[in-house]
Assembly symmetry: C2
Homo-oligomer: 112 residues x 2
C-alpha cells in the first residue's frame, strides 16, 4: 500500500469511508458498503473485501458465511479522499438476495 496515499483517506465522523464495489471484469457496480481503517487494512492484507457493518457494529468479511467472497484487483481513492472504489473479482452474487448486484431495482428510466 502506498503510505502517502493511505494517509489521504478521509474518514467521516463515525470513522467510516464508503466503498463502491465494482466487478473488474464486467464493470457492474455490485454494492456500496463502509470501511473503517481496520477493515481497509484487512482488505489490503488478505486480498478480499472486509467492511464495517453499521447495523451489527462489527467487522464483516464479505462472503465469510455465504462463500461469496470478493477478490480485490485494485482500490482507488477519489479526488477529495472521502470515497473508495474497490474493484473485485466476485466468487458469487454480491447481494444477500442472491442477485449478482445489490442494484437490481430500476427506480427511473427516462422516456426516449
Amino acid at each position: 500500500m502506498t503510505d502517502s496515499i493511505i494517509n489521504e483517506v478521509k474518514y467521516d465522523e463515525q470513522s467510516l469511508v464508503p466503498a463502491v464495489v465494482q466487478d473488474s471484469r464486467t464493470g457492474e457496480v455490485l454494492m456500496v458498503a463502509f470501511m473503517n481503517a481496520e477493515s481497509l487494512a484487512k482488505t489490503v492484507e488478505t486480498g478480499e473485501t472486509w467492511f464495517w457493518s453499521r447495523s451489527r457494529r462489527a467487522l464483516w468479511h464479505k462472503g465469510e458465511i455465504s462463500g461469496n467472497t470478493q477478490r480485490v484487483t485494485s482500490i482507488e481513492i477519489d479526488c477529495d479522499g472521502d470515497t473508495l472504489l474497490v474493484k473485485v473479482e466476485p466468487r458469487g452474487p454480491a447481494c444477500h438476495t442472491g442477485e449478482q448486484t445489490c442494484f437490481f431495482r430500476l427506480l427511473h428510466s427516462p422516456r426516449k
Copy 2:
C-alpha cells in the same frame, strides 16, 4: 418515476442518500455524491444530475458552471434502499480536476 419504488428511498439522518454515478457507455465509475429528495426530483424532471452539496449547503446542478453536465440514462436503487446508482452519458470530465473520473488515484493494487 415508479411511485411505489421512489417511496423506498431511505434517506439518512441528514435527509441524504449517496448516489454512485457511472458512465453508461464505458462502465467507469465517475463520482459519488449526495442527493436529497429535491435533487432526486430535479434529476428525474430534467434528465440531468442534480446533487446536494454538503459543503455549500445548496442544490447543485452538475455542470452548471463547467458545462460538464451528465445526461441520465437510468437510476437504480439497491436492495436495502439506501444507495442510488445513476447511469449517465457525461458531456465532459466528471472531476473538478479535469480528470474523466474522480477515482484517478490508485490506493492499492495487489502483487500478482
